[in-house]
Symmetry: C2
Subunit: 235 residues, 2 copies
């Protein structure tokens, strides 16, 4: 039986971390709001009573509803073997995913520093101020940590000798950062060859390749998490 | 054998969510940086190679190092019975904890909207701008969701008929919000009786009572996550 994935239908956003893991693993799912529109997502969220998610993305199957990206991925990891089996490894993978979530939240804060519900145009000077320390301090700090995470084990993947949901998430992180900060990433990338290697290997997974060549994949745009505002980028 | 907890020794901060669960359950731990100082924490973090945490808090025991608050709590929950046993309930509890983490990140962003590494004094106008929609829109939205989370099951606690780490975390959330936004919380609290009930029941747990009466508990202050800047509060 196919999962129902509910997420905003016009952006990659946080939902893309879930879509990528599902697509890479060939797990059957329906991207409900892409079929039925954003209004159907809002209606579904409002109709849910017990354990309704705070926000999309969420995954539903047979009465079980799971929200929060790291939580969804941990579930998929355990149920479909997209994660390691030992407790120590599962905790570590969750830790990496949660650190990716932290970076994603900081990325969103760069273009929305003083008002989550307001437009970027209403906070451009503040966004410019927030972008500078993000590019210069936070981004290298995070990338340095992900590089250490990737290279502290033998093998090419993040963990184990095979891909896990942590690898597909690192792929999406690099994709998003390249879209949002092309100049800065061009400067930084040579310092993080392990992260880029994982990115490239994920791009070569048959399920990911097929997905990215399909019309299911939504290009980055200026309504999502990773937005390209040239004035926020610099080498 | 006692856990080593590593966190900044002068603030409750994110570490407090871990300290509270440990104290409520009577689990033996050493708050290492409180014994040895912040320099010892920095040194410990630098000495770690494989799987070094991105940031404190982290918990160490016999070679296992676990970081990220929700990850630490999930581990403690499973190992010490501070969480439910069914998979659906464990995922739900993790989802609640991750939503608490999201709110904590937004709270920090209120007083540091344009520079995580800069001082509050360097971003006061931006903080004032960020505080208004946080108080008026985001805070009630989160509290409304936590109220639904608490009241969608029978029983007084968040889940099951006994406390879990989700309850101690909700307690700390209410404590922090009351410290940071006393006027706003006085206005909002009557709408969220279930959340306040959980807070009060956690305050009455013997382990929590003993901890809060001890010199181990660190008062909120303006170096932590929850900071009382009167200019950011309003009814």
């Amino acid at each position: 039986m196919a999962y129902d994935l509910w997420y905003w239908p016009t952006i990659p956003g946080r939902g893309e971390f879930v879509r990528l893991a599902l697509e890479a693993a060939g797990i059957d799912y329906r991207d409900r709001a892409r079929e039925e529109g954003a209004a159907a997502l809002v209606a579904d969220l409002e109709e849910r009573t017990a354990r309704a998610p705070f926000a999309p993305p969420y995954l539903a199957l047979e009465g079980l509803v799971i929200a929060q990206v790291a939580n969804i991925l941990m579930f998929l990891g355990e149920r479909h073997g997209l994660g390691p089996s030992s407790m120590a490894d599962r905790l570590w993978l969750n830790e990496v995913q949660l650190t990716i979530s932290d970076l994603v939240a900081e990325v969103h804060n760069v273009h929305h520093p003083v008002g989550v519900g307001a437009y970027y145009d209403e906070q451009k000077p503040e966004a410019a101020r927030a972008a500078a320390p993000f590019r210069e301090e936070r981004l290298p700090k995070f990338l340095h940590w992900f590089e250490k995470a990737v290279t502290c084990h033998p093998g090419d993947w993040l963990i184990d000798g095979r891909w896990t949901y942590g690898d597909t998430s690192l792929f999406q992180l690099v994709e998003g950062l390249r879209y949002m900060f092309p100049k800065r990433m061009a400067t930084l990338e040579p310092d993080y060859p392990g992260v880029i290697r994982v990115h490239d290997m994920v791009a070569g997974l048959p399920g990911v390749r097929a997905y990215r060549n399909s019309d299911r994949a939504i290009p980055f745009n200026e309504d999502g998490i990773f937005r390209h505002y040239p004035e926020l980028d610099a080498a």
